[in-house]
């Protein structure tokens, strides 16, 4: 990065089921809140990046989604770029905004992620999600994303590294955190017994372990450190912003995952390692997926994820809280908005504004967002490091 970039403001529309609210209204509320939080007027935004994954298939708004939606934020006339990177679109839009400011091409940029998944027919939404794979290869095969996670988890269960109890307990933790987040779709505690007894979805993954179809939006305003003087909120610095795509795989299975490569690049860019990080927002599209990320992101050795969970390290109040927001599993997963919701959570935590879910003394936060699926791995990965 040529110059330092800071987050000036963030905002969200609550995640959940909002049958009466359109995509542009979701985006509008999140965007306006981010601008207000930043103390910035719409005409001060010099470039905007709009993430959405499914509107083309679900509402028919295939093109100019951002230009349509951002009029609700009062942003028009400036460059608006539409970003599609499956479930990693939100963090990808943020990455583009950071690059625009970091390169000096503008001083103040807006990133908004919004998704409208409740369209009166959940089957159609699930079908649209299957377009996040190579459709020529997987069409008419019954591809269902939970099964992808199930296959990864089953390997760990078979080796004894994880047990069904771990899958249940990480889900319980997610929902406990979600209860503390007013933006979360699910704000109800669950027991391990309820998790294991809920309807099976694929392999060992049950309904309560899964992120939900959701409506929602999240947004962030970034600007250069110089332009941020006099900002109303404590400034949160962007220490690293990295984006990767899935690599060719040899099939031998020893390569680093997309997520692992992306996060390692962020550690390198920031000169910060897992031991210096105070909280993580990771892409737990199923709650047990979080256990895989403990290892992938370098917070424990391979095979030790279960122990890290058992020690209570990853709960709020623990050594390294994961997903204090409730994560995708409890906050909900309106796919194009998720990456920016993770970033909003990191900013609130670092400012000390996270209320009952505050991670005490948080100074450095990691957000990790994954998208799509190609040849056995995520097709897109984004990672950001923030500090106060």
């Amino acid at each position: 990065m040529l110059r330092e970039v800071v987050v000036l403001g963030v905002g969200m529309h609550r995640f959940g089921k909002f049958p009466e609210t359109s995509l542009r209204e979701l985006a509008g509320e999140a965007g306006r809140r981010a601008l207000k939080d930043a103390g910035v007027l719409p005409r001060q935004i010099q470039a905007a990046y709009f993430a959405n994954a499914l509107a083309g298939l679900l509402t028919g708004q295939e093109s100019i989604r951002g230009q349509v939606a951002l009029r609700e934020v009062g942003v028009a006339g400036v460059p608006i770029v539409n970003v599609e990177n499956a479930c990693a679109g939100g963090a990808t839009a943020f990455h583009q905004a950071v690059l625009a400011v970091g390169s000096g091409s503008c001083d103040v940029a807006l990133a908004v992620g919004a998704e409208k998944m409740f369209v009166g027919d959940t089957g159609r939404t699930i079908q649209a999600l299957a377009a996040s794979a190579d459709v020529e290869l997987t069409h008419d095969m019954g591809l269902q994303f939970t099964a992808i996670y199930a296959m990864r988890i089953q390997k760990r269960l078979a080796s004894g590294a994880l047990t069904l109890r771990h899958l249940a307990e990480v889900t319980v933790k997610s929902h406990r955190h979600g209860c503390l987040n007013p933006y979360a779709q699910h704000q109800k505690e669950v027991t391990a017994e309820e998790v294991l007894a809920s309807r099976p979805i694929a392999g060992p993954i049950t309904l309560l372990m899964c992120s939900s179809v959701s409506d929602g939006a999240a947004a962030a305003v970034v600007c250069s450190a110089e332009a941020a003087r006099g900002a109303p909120q404590p400034l949160v610095r962007v220490l690293a912003s990295e984006l990767r795509s899935g690599a060719f795989r040899s099939g031998a299975g020893e390569e680093l995952s997309t997520a692992a490569r992306t996060v390692r690049a962020a550690y390198e860019q920031a000169g910060v390692g897992p031991e210096e990080i105070d909280l993580v927002e990771c892409h737990d599209a199923t709650a047990p997926g979080e256990l895989l990320y403990y290892e992938d992101l370098g917070f424990c050795k391979p095979g030790e994820a279960g122990r890290l969970l058992d020690e209570g390290a990853t709960t709020i109040g623990g050594r390294i809280p994961f997903n204090p927001s409730g994560g995708l599993t409890s906050r909900g997963h309106p796919v194009g908005a998720t990456g920016l919701a993770q970033i909003a959570e990191a900013v609130w935590q670092l400012r000390g504004q996270a209320g009952p879910r505050q991670v005490q003394g948080a100074r450095v936060a990691l957000t990790q967002n994954s998208g799509g699926w190609l040849e056995g791995d995520s097709a897109a990965g984004a990672a950001h490091l923030f500090a106060v």
Binding site: A130, L143, M151, G376
Partner: protein
């Protein structure tokens, strides 16, 4: 399924196969076929029939089916004998959690995976 991903047994080729490519330089095999070798980067590949046999790398029973499919059924990652790993449904066995453990040898079948669906490539336990 688009043309060119597989050859079915009715294409006059005998047993069905998948349409892969082999690098003329490093001899490594890709599926789907690629004009540039993913491993050595050379633009020197030739078509090759692959995937008549493979082994199960991982599998999962799907209990909540997408539109048109009837649960439960099995999906898997299958490592082709030639190296590449593919995602596909598993047929020819009961949709049981232990039906196709990792390492199970499987053979290619080209058939629809749902009633009225397009033909797709699938695998079934060898000799099953």
């Amino acid at each position: 399924m688009t043309q060119g991903v597989f050859r079915s047994s009715t294409d006059g080729e005998g047993a069905p196969s998948l349409a892969g490519s082999r690098c003329r330089y490093c001899a490594r095999v890709s599926f789907p076929a690629r004009p540039i070798c993913p491993w050595c980067g050379r633009e020197d590949t030739e078509p090759v029939a692959v995937g008549r046999r493979g082994t199960i790398q991982a599998s999962a029973v799907v209990y909540h089916a997408p539109i048109g499919f009837t649960a439960p059924y099995i999906v898997a990652l299958v490592e082709l004998a030639e190296g590449p790993v593919v995602f596909c449904p598993i047929t020819g066995c009961l949709p049981d959690e232990n039906a196709v453990p990792p390492g199970t040898p499987v053979e290619l079948v080209v058939a629809p995976a749902r009633a009225g669906g397009a033909p797709v490539f699938q695998f079934r336990p060898l000799g099953g």
